[in-house]
Symmetry: C2
Subunit: 207 residues, 2 copies
DNA sequence: TAGATTGTTAATCGATTAACAATC
DNA sequence: TAGATTGTTAATCGATTAACAATC
């Protein structure tokens, strides 16, 4: 099995989005150049990325929008969304819960946890907030595979430990901290400071 | 002038964070191995990254924490924060406004904009929310360099156009859409679907 | 001096881009 | 058939990793 480059994986949602838009616009065929244009990616890159998964186009014609949409849905696993729990029902946590069409992108948040007594037992956006103490039990019962950490940085490592103990396979960390987890755990950090550093470097450079 | 690799820029905040923690812990010297351990980066990578900006260590000894902290503050421009306006005072917008110690990372949000009449004129976290119609005038007056877009996807392009017209130099886009902006504009997309795609790929793979 | 660790060069690895034969 | 566009190989580019002389 050939390894998929990480950047390729990151571009698939961009293609998916461009295809959804094209489909809604009634467009039936898209060339790699057109698809790339709408996704912000070079046409050669588009073709190369897609060939990691199969041959979806017709030479001299292009890609069938509906067909390629279906392929990407399959590749991205959008039909069988992953179930996740979210820890930290603050603003960021709620924002993520409400990320537009998150379910559409293959994620379903099934429970929220917090330490704030004022939030525990409440329903936020139709989702009950549980005490952090119940994390291990509930994750075990639900069999959730993903834990999303949106707590303040100082609590994040402790929460990560609980998630690992509870048996999640992946952690999506939004707290600005370097988490230590066993190598078997899939860890993805979403770090705003990283984006900001890039931005401000270019700002200071191109005077 | 040597071009700084983008991945290097993204790792600087990780080093900065590790150094802050070390400094608070009273640690005065850190080797590249120790710094890398705390930042989640290989030691050779740490040394290589730092040499793009200068020579900050002492062979046989390591890096002086306070000294390197000061250098990184300078490199990241944390002493002269960039001023930004934020458009879209929803949950995500508010979450970003409250990102822990954002000011510490060199960003100061100076005004918020929204189209919701219920929000316009209100003060959210001490920041007044203005009508989107006033965007161009206020950005011009304040001379803001960065526009942060946290609107729903369908409005994002229109907001980006207004920001460009108003004269911002950089756009930090959180809406899941491919924005078209002139090449002179620095554009950074923060896209949750990208992270999710990566996570779910690995989840489905390592059965 | 002996031991440790930097800064830097060279080797490796991985991703992007260019080019084009095959195909519609 | 002539024109267009894919899939794929080869060339280029850029980043990471390894190795080690210089330095403390």
């Amino acid at each position: 099995m050939i390894e998929i480059p990480k950047p390729t994986l990151g571009r698939l949602p961009l293609y998916y989005r461009a295809l959804v838009a094209a489909n809604e616009g009634g467009i039936e065929i898209l060339s790699s150049a057109e698809l790339g244009e709408n996704a912000g990616v070079d046409s050669a890159q588009v073709r190369k990325d897609l060939t990691y998964f199969g041959q979806f186009g017709r030479p001299g014609v292009g890609y069938n929008v509906v067909n390629l949409l279906a392929e990407l849905e399959r590749i991205l696993g959008l039909k069988n969304p992953n179930e996740a729990v979210l820890i930290g029902a603050g603003r960021l946590g709620m924002a993520i819960c409400n990320y537009p069409g998150f379910s559409r992108y293959g994620l379903k948040i099934v429970a929220m946890f917090d330490v704030d007594p004022a939030k525990i037992g409440e329903k936020l956006d139709g989702l009950e907030v549980f005490s952090l103490e119940k994390l291990e039990r509930i994750v075990g019962k639900l069999g959730s595979q993903i834990g999303i950490i949106t707590t303040p940085a100082p609590s994040a490592q402790q929460v990560a430990n609980k998630l690992v103990a509870a048996g999640v396979r992946a952690i999506w960390n939004f707290a600005p901290v370097n988490l230590k987890v066993p190598p078997s755990i899939i860890l993805r950090n979403e770090d705003l400071a990283v984006g900001l550093a890039t931005l401000s470097h270019y700002l200071s450079g191109k005077k």
